[in-house]
């Protein structure tokens, strides 16, 4: 069955909109390309936004903790003033808290053989504690006790070719940073984001040697684990009561993730740019589809006037314009989705960003495309009023 025959069966009338679109191939293809382009634009922006959200979540998800205590002014893992170590002991005294461990955070430049620099988000941890559940970190945690020992993120973006397989094979890799020589004794898998290329784990002692200006008594965060069977909400409430709010903020890990995601997507330029891109994409789509549909209506004013003279009601013409809008939405969206999937793969390979299509996003953008085309169609139908059958004779 041809597309026209299928549509005819579906609509119970001649698929006039489809036939009209198909008649003018060049315009049809231009319109489809426009819809596809808008879809690609929106899908890519949402993909980047999704990657941003995923990359924010990633380090938190690797933490072996239920609650994170940070400076009151903290927006992301990477900022905020140090937290006095005293808060750790106060937290430990709260009912329901089983363990507490400090987490230091700093950034290290990893110079590449070609002179390029990779930024490594570096965590300083107590090797005796278990602040991360990441298998690679857990396995080599003991090694960190040695001075200047480090574990490196094997998903770090743009690392020297073949380096990670060699380290995995047992080779010891050394590199200079902050005037010290770090010894990488093992790898773990985490993955960089928009700000950082990857992660590095060192002991708290090594961290303080790398960042001598940092006071030993003041980590960036304190990670807490709940006692087995402890009520998370009640413990959080007790912690908030026990610790001064002017000094520190207490969040369950999922809460902290949501806060930082909201901050990154609505307060930081990257997030705002992506949101803006979605709006621009949708606008491009509306304008292109409106142009095509209104030109198409204008080109058929005499025919529409003739159909009015035959007795067709206004809703028939609305039906034709919406039929065109939906044909454009569906036939334009599908190739757009295919191209976007290819681009996702390309971006993931080239940048290592956690960019992936979700069924929900694909569906939402499809519905958005339908809505966009319907809106353009609705605006284009205003031109129908010009079809006056009295002008025909």
């Amino acid at each position: 069955m041809t597309a026209a025959a299928a549509l005819e069966r579906l609509l119970g009338r001649l698929p006039l909109g489809w036939l009209q679109l198909a008649h003018n191939r060049v315009r049809f293809l231009a319109a489809l390309a426009g819809v596809a382009f808008a879809g690609i634009l929106v899908l890519m922006q949402l993909g980047f936004m999704g990657a941003l959200i995923a990359s924010v979540r990633l380090p938190y998800e690797h933490m072996n903790a239920d609650i994170i205590v940070s400076a009151a002014d903290m927006n992301t893992l990477a900022d905020g003033a140090p937290v006095p170590r005293q808060r750790m002991y106060e937290a430990l005294a709260v009912e329901g808290v089983a363990a507490a461990t400090p987490l230091y955070f700093g950034k290290i430049d990893w110079k590449q053989p070609d002179g390029a620099i990779r930024t490594l988000d570096t965590f300083g941890v107590d090797p005796a504690a278990r602040p991360f559940r990441t298998p690679g970190i857990e396995a080599r945690r003991g090694d960190l006790a040695l001075a200047d020992a480090a574990l490196l993120d094997a998903r770090t973006r743009n690392a020297p070719k073949g380096l990670f397989p060699r380290i995995a094979g047992g080779e010891t890799y050394r590199f200079e940073a902050k005037n010290r020589t770090l010894t990488v004794g093992g790898l773990f898998e985490l993955g960089g984001g928009f700000v950082t290329d990857g992660y590095l784990i060192v002991s708290d002692q090594t961290f303080l040697r790398l960042f001598p200006q940092r006071a030993p008594g003041a980590p960036n965060h304190i990670l807490l684990t709940l006692a087995p069977g402890a009520d998370a909400a009640a413990t959080l409430a007790r912690l908030r009561a026990a610790l001064p709010a002017y000094d520190v903020a207490v969040h369950a890990i999922p809460e902290a993730i949501a806060r930082e995601q909201a901050y990154q997507t609505t307060q930081r330029p990257v997030g705002i740019v992506f949101g803006f891109g979605v709006v621009i994409g949708a606008m491009v789509g509306v304008i292109i589809v409106y142009q095509v549909l209104s030109t198409d209506v204008a080109d058929h004013i005499k025919e529409y006037a003739t159909f009015k003279a035959i007795g067709y009601p206004q809703r028939f013409f609305l039906g034709v314009v919406f039929e065109e809008a939906f044909v454009l939405a569906i036939l334009g969206y599908l190739p757009g989705l295919a191209v976007a999937l290819g681009l996702y793969k390309l971006v993931a390979t080239v940048t290592g960003l956690p960019i992936a299509m979700t069924a929900g996003r694909a569906l939402v953008v499809f519905l958005g495309t339908l809505a966009m085309c319907a809106l353009s169609g609705a605006i284009a139908t205003r031109k129908l009023a010009r079809a006056d059958p009295a002008d025909l004779f």
Partner: protein, 250 residues
């Protein structure tokens, strides 16, 4: 023996029409009184600007009546709204000087548009109906052609088929044969006359073609918005029982 004479399909009383506003206001029709009998082929003649087209658009429900009365197919058009006019349009057929065929529809599909307006049930056997009518107009070998591949006369005949496929009770035609050669024009007029006899289809046609005027049942001549001459037989050309509407055109 027979009951009261059936109401004529068209009756105008004091029908007037104006165009424009204020200074530019101009009267196009002056107080017209006339009736047109069922099944008759009436030809409307007159110089350009005499009001023929205005009269056709009023009687066909394409324009709102401003003053006077126009009763068409039992419906008083004065004061009737758009839905009423639309209902009337579905019962009549228009043949315009320009064919106005839809460029992306084939001859068959263009004709089908005249049926589809009557709803899904009207589409039963639409292929046979449309092909038969196009055949009567000499287009059997052009059924699936797009307008771009038809000559001017062929396109006009497709437009005529589109006007007739819904079995209209009245056909309004404005210079329908301008694009047709002599034989096709006479063929169309004969078809309209046959429909008049067989089904009581009433035709009101603007034309200056003397061969058609010769075949008319009645000729009205207009001048400056008035009917100045009314010739031809006033008797009903049609006197048989009413055939069911929308039966196939035979």
């Amino acid at each position: 023996m027979s009951g009261p004479a059936p109401a004529p399909p068209i009756r105008a009383l004091g029908l007037s029409h104006w165009f424009g506003e204020g200074e530019a206001r101009k009267q196009a029709l002056h107080d017209l009184d006339f009736e047109i009998a069922r099944g008759a082929l009436t030809v409307l003649m007159g110089a350009s600007g005499s009001g023929k087209t205005t009269l056709l658009t009023l009687l066909g429900g394409l324009r709102a009546v401003q003053a006077g009365s126009a009763r068409v197919l039992g419906l008083e058009l004065a004061g009737v709204g758009e839905p009423g006019l639309r209902a009337l349009r579905r019962r009549v057929g228009f043949i315009f000087q320009a064919h106005n065929l839809h460029e992306s529809l084939t001859a068959m599909q263009n004709v089908r548009m005249g049926l589809e307006v009557h709803g899904r049930q009207a589409l039963a056997n639409w292929r046979e109906g449309c092909a038969h009518l196009l055949g009567l107009l000499g287009l059997s070998d052009r059924l699936d052609y797009l307008p771009a591949n038809l000559s001017g006369g062929q396109k006009q005949r497709v437009a005529i088929a589109r006007a007739l496929i819904g079995n209209p009770e009245i056909v309004f035609a404005d210079e329908p044969t301008a694009a047709l050669d002599r034989d096709s024009a006479l063929n169309v007029v004969d078809l309209l006359k046959r429909l008049g006899r067989a089904r009581g289809t009433t035709t009101l046609m603007v034309t200056h073609d003397s061969k058609i005027v010769d075949r008319a049942d009645r000729v009205l001549v207009m001048e400056d918005g008035r009917i100045v001459e009314d010739s031809g037989t006033q008797a009903l050309a049609w006197s048989r029982p009413i055939a069911p509407r929308r039966a196939d055109v035979r």
